[in-house]
Amino acid sequence: MFRNQYDTDVTTWSPAGRLFQVEYAMEAVKQGSAAIGLRSKTHVVLASVNKANSELSSHQKKIFKVDDHIGVAIAGLTADGRVLSRYMRSECINYSYSYESKLPVGRLVVQLADKAQVCTQRSWKRPYGVGLLVGGLDESGAHLYYNCPSGNYFEYQAFAMGSRSQAAKTYMERKFETFTESSRENLIKDALFALRETLQGEKLTSSICTVAVVGVDESFHILDKETVQALINEFEIAGEEAPANEAAPQDQGGDAQAGAADQGPTDQGVAPMDI
């Protein structure tokens, strides 16, 4: 992006009708590590790549539980993401207090978008530098929304954001039609596949990613490392090229082989390796 003379203030339009500060905020989202979401009729899966500043530090937390029926994955300025997650939690709990029932995710998303819009129209504020993938439930089932710094929001069947997210998007574009009727397990596997695409060759292990699920009969929760690793092993054994096949059994020996035996046929259907 080039320097422009109309980009100092968020309240200054460019002659071409653009608000550059808002667009720069959306750039910040692209710099964050990848996060993806996909949904079926009854479940939403969120997954993110956990970057750490250095080997010595802990991973950034990118997925937050907002309520039993809503969770959010963020990419961009994590501090902004944390603040917005707190706002979302607050809205959910206030609604529950007044109405003894769950805030429909569609309404939360609109409130969030309106909050972001305010920051695009005040000279003393700056836009939030974070994209949010909100997965949750309302009366009509499971929904996935993407909220961006501009104050826009869209509903998606599947979406990816952050660095190298295009690779994940390409994968999901091929497969999204199957997601609506997908089972919970296949949805999670597809999420892991898509996430792996963003790693561009780096090995996918449960220590560098986080996966969370919410469903019509399932509260939002983050899957533990063992579960995630087992799922990774299943599809890596079944659908992989030769080199990776040799690498995988070394990690998880017994578990992986048992997994492969059960899941072999199914995974061949799911594997995207036939390019």
Partner: protein
Amino acid sequence: MIVDSSSPAPTKNSLLLSSEADLQRTQTPYVTGTSVIAIKYKDGILIAADMGGSYGSTLRYKNVERIKPVGKHSLIGASGEISDFQEILRYLDELMLNDSMWDDGNSLGPKEVHNYLTRVMYNRRNKFNPLWNSLILGGVKNGQKYLGTVNMIGVHYEDNHVATGFGNHLARPILREEWNENLTFEEGVKLLEKCMRVLLYRDRSAVNKLQIAKITDEGFTISQPYSLKTQWKFKAFENPTVGAEGSW
């Protein structure tokens, strides 16, 4: 029940400075409605209430509708101060309006409305300025029946049959004996009429003009006003003063 108004008579200066010139808290009730009773039945909820608005011990207004619909899924019945009920209806109207403005396929059901009312009633009670009502909130949403009550101090609960005021003492014992969850519409109406008749005989503020409302998944109906048949030909009521102390 604190009456807190500016006294002595405010001078021009003090009116401008004082923000309490017109602060008055409730109070006592003036125009009141008496019992409301409601039951769950096979297809939904039935609510009954008479159409009387008493002014103290005078049965002054005889065309007061004390049962009203709330959105598509609920009915509200009120006893107590009628003007406060009208205020509550305005709150509910605004609530349902904002709910439908979302236009997103989600809607507030009877449970949500009941809870909202509970918060309003309790909040007012805490400010020593209650809405002087006992409310019944019933409705059906997605096949689920809901029946609850909340009163001016914020006490709230749900049950298969509820009542306000005198109804709690006279109607609920009958309902405890005779209610079951498979009542048909006709059986439900008969049961409610039995209770309303007892109330008519024994509650001084009852009038013989009532409405029965029903709400099901399909929608609501509130009946036209009608009267109950009563029986007064008891021997003890004939020549009641014969032989009384001091008579001749």
